[in-house]
Subunit: 152 residues, 2 copies
Amino acid sequence: MISVTQGDSLGRELSTAVVAFHEAVGAYLGVSAVDQRALGVIGARGPLSAGALAKEIGLTPGAVTGMVDRLERAGLVERAPDPADRRRVVITVAAKGRGAFGEVFGGLSTAMNAMVGRYSVAEQQVIADWVTRTIDILREQTRELSRRTSKR
Amino acid sequence: MISVTQGDSLGRELSTAVVAFHEAVGAYLGVSAVDQRALGVIGARGPLSAGALAKEIGLTPGAVTGMVDRLERAGLVERAPDPADRRRVVITVAAKGRGAFGEVFGGLSTAMNAMVGRYSVAEQQVIADWVTRTIDILREQTRELSRRTSKR
DNA sequence: GAATTTATTTCAGCATACCGAAATATTCAG
DNA sequence: CTGAATATTTCGGTATGCTGAAATAAATTC
């Protein structure tokens, strides 16, 4: 069995490695941590209006304008007026943005797939299950921490 | 089997969840991402001089002074002159710092241990193996990315 | 169709945190 | 004991990026 201390330190190392990778991605693309989260949100939740993005990442509308300016200047996202409501501006990840991410995550993805492929189907299921549960726990703990942070 | 796209998106979600948790930790403790990494380094590599810390995290000595000022003001680290070489200042994680991290990571650790405990010994070994390999891949990809970033 | 509401942008002010260089303190070499 | 080297701090300048408020534009309500 994984002892408590072993499990903790492995988890800690994994966490550190993930964060280090993210920082390296940010440095490579020349975008801040918040910008990266915004890119992730836009990519995952599809095209988004500026206001929706502001709520999603907890910034004021004014700050979002500046952030989108940066990302647009870097060619990573695109602005377009919403045809249905022309007050709105919808923001999408630009082709270059998707390309840059592919470039950055491509090597990781390839290596991870090759590594996972060496496990049996049953083992892969165990791993996927653990990852899913870990994600749930992380999200719950993040919410709890944010709750405690806001109550001060 | 975990399909390529499934594996990718799970990995992406895990990564996002880890980063979100780290950001929540930073917000809770009131320290920046760099500060957090410094705390991690000091905690892991034992007491460290200011200069050694500067090299470790890639800041100028002047910036380290300011950072340690912040962390010390927050009660998370302590400065002490090195008895062997009184030009040096050794920095250690303060009791409050360790306590704060325990408070923050305690819930996570508990939940993770409970979750992992539900797997069989063999399954736990598979998981630990996968985590170890994933860490290796992340580190390698981080190095590769940093290498490409510096070459510009 | 005038008034109100909603969405985004602009802008001034402010806080943060970095760098580079000079200052200070201590150690080491000869 | 003097001069050079090393470790940290101090400080001025700068860049970044946020907030809050005002401005602008478009849609909705009555």
